[in-house]
Amino acid sequence: MKHEHGTRRRGRTRCRTGRTGRTVRRGVGRVAAAGGAVAVAWSVCPLQPVHAAPKDLGGWTLSGSASPLSILIYDKAIPVPADPQVEINFTYAGVTMQSGSAQAVSSALWPGTTIAEGLPQLIKSDKAAWPAWARAAAPGGPAKASKDPGMAAAARDRHATAATEGGPPRDSLGTLNLGTTSVPLPDLAGMIGFRGLACSADGTVTGTSAGAAVSATMPKSSLFGGLVTIDRVTARAAASSDARHGTATGSAAYRGLKVLGQDVTISDSGDVRVGGKPFLPGDQKKTLADLGFTFQRGGVKRTVDGAHATAAATGPKIVWDTRPLRAALDGPLELLKQTMSPQDLKDLGFLFDLAPKIVIVLGNTTADATAAPPIDAGGLPGSPPSPDGAAPVSAPDAQPDVRLPQVAGGAPATAPAAAFGGLPGALVAGGVVAAFAAAWGLRRFDAAMFPGGTCASGHPVGVPDLRGRR
């Protein structure tokens, strides 16, 4: 397991232009075509130069989260009071630190803080537990935690790291224990055809600054049965504060994006283009639209407000409105129906009316940091951490619309369970399972829909010429 935070935390020194102030270098920084692959990268320089800082910080709050592949599901029919209603992160790393405490979470499959951490309170059962995560915390411990496959977390007073590698395993991740009942998490092999997902999150507090740095990498992957293939996605975000000034940096890049087999770029406005020209004449464009797919380019968002800095960097986003293809979810939901008791079926009837909007984020990173000067160094400017210790988080957009929330992946510092008066476990399970069903639904058009394409593991679809190879 690699912990790369040492280099990443100093990422700002790599900014070659040396520009400071309000200029944001955004958009297409570099377009290089090589061997048919198109590389697009964004990068953003720090807004503020580094200033002298006091000897030790008076307090801090920071958080960071990263996932190479997030699936956000918006459907008001899912009774989980969050927005998105459900998220599933395929490989996740997150850290949160407040003066005197630290937590690091590594998960091969992360349903969002609300469900994973809030589960016991959410359904009022101490036995409830999300199975697929390793969590380290200080104080209170454990200082280190790890779990197969590829989950590791460590937390000390002033340093927290989480690193997750490999992506969801082939076999079931285990059982979602809801106290009274338990729900086996489905086998993911059939849903998601990639390997080698990786992400890390690091939080470090020194005498003079507090910072979070995160990164996520997705290797060559194929989505929707080859509708979309991509060679690589990387996203990084870092936020730090020296108690006077915040610094936010981020970068997101992807390479070799293909839609329906063609090398494409995504414009600011979400147009998919081939070599600068609009993508897809007639049929294929219509195919995409008929399937309910739209694209967003992603990029870097950051805000610095005094000592408080926030950075969010994401790679391309694929928005799939399932309404045109609602029937595709019938199969998985039908299977689900068979496994449920009559009571559950009653509680979970809503599942069968789902037509979610699904946002797939390739490379999803956020970092947030703020720090306060030492008490006895009075008079220094800078905003102290908010009194409840929670990082300020922008209110999520209430509309389940194409617009993505500013801080996707959740803000781990918010108290998740407190928001709920307690929900039946089945409802929570239902939301999670619905997400799986949706993710599974994604995989159901492969061969039938795109007979000339590739399957989720990148193999061509069709009938091989067995005799020809002899």
């Binding site: 082939r170 059939g190 299977l335 995989r443 193999h459 061509p460 679809v461 091989p464 010429d465």
Partner: protein
């Protein structure tokens, strides 16, 4: 050694009943691979899924690096994926020779068909004027195998070759399959009773309750078999 047939997370079944619950299996090129497993484990279903007769609900069936989920059985057969189904598919009211003549249907020359049949199975030559229904089980199985062989298989799927046969005959049939594998044909042979096939197989895998419970060298699998079957039943 590359896997000419590769199953990853394959789920399949009949209507609402799922029989295969995520099967992972590699069948190396030019090998004789034995697929063992107790009654009802899903062995036949697995073969049907590979042959395109049952469609996988999820997972991947890769044949020579090509994703064949959803490919038509006929197209796969023409490409060289040939199945010898459970039970003997011979026409009992026709003689051996007449059965062979029917095998020329795909455009094969009758002489070539006879050469395949009588060359591999001299006993069929002796019984060529007998009704297929009057042949012994072993001889019927030879006739069924001949049908598969004249189709010039590249990948051969065989379901319970031994069913109802005496051990001696079974050994003889498996020698033929081992010879085919030596010639480069990839053979996946399903068996419930293991000893004979394990003696000639290059690889073995055990399917229990719709999942691969073990895979490896035949000797090791043979040693663990009782435990695997019982473990699966528990």
């Amino acid at each position: 050694m590359s896997a000419v047939l590769e199953l990853t997370g394959v789920r399949a079944g009949y209507g609402r009943i799922e029989v295969l619950h995520g099967v992972d299996l590699d069948v190396p090129e030019g090998s004789l691979t034995a697929l063992l497993g107790p009654n009802g484990a899903g062995k036949s279903t697995l073969l049907k899924t590979v042959a395109g007769l049952v469609r996988a609900t999820s997972g991947h069936v890769h044949l020579s690096g090509v994703h064949v989920n959803g490919a038509a059985p006929g197209a796969l057969a023409r490409a060289g994926l040939v199945t010898v189904p459970e039970g003997r598919a011979v026409f009992p009211n026709l003689t051996v020779e007449e059965n062979l003549r029917l095998m020329t249907y795909g455009g094969r020359r009758e002489a070539a068909v006879r050469e395949t049949a009588f060359g591999r199975f001299p006993r069929l030559a002796e019984r060529r004027r007998s009704l297929a229904g009057s042949l012994s089980g072993g001889e019927q199985q030879m006739l069924a195998l001949t049908r598969a062989l004249v189709a010039d298989p590249v990948v051969l799927l065989v379901d319970e070759l031994s069913m109802g046969l005496a051990p001696m005959v079974v050994a003889e049939l498996y020698d033929v399959l081992a010879g085919l594998a030596d010639d480069g044909v990839t053979v996946l042979a399903v068996e419930q009773f293991a000893a004979t096939v394990l003696a000639v197989a290059d690889h073995a895998a055990v399917l229990v309750h719709g999942r691969i419970a073990a895979a490896g060298p035949p000797r090791r699998i043979g040693a663990d078999l009782a435990e695997l079957y019982l473990g699966g039943a528990a």
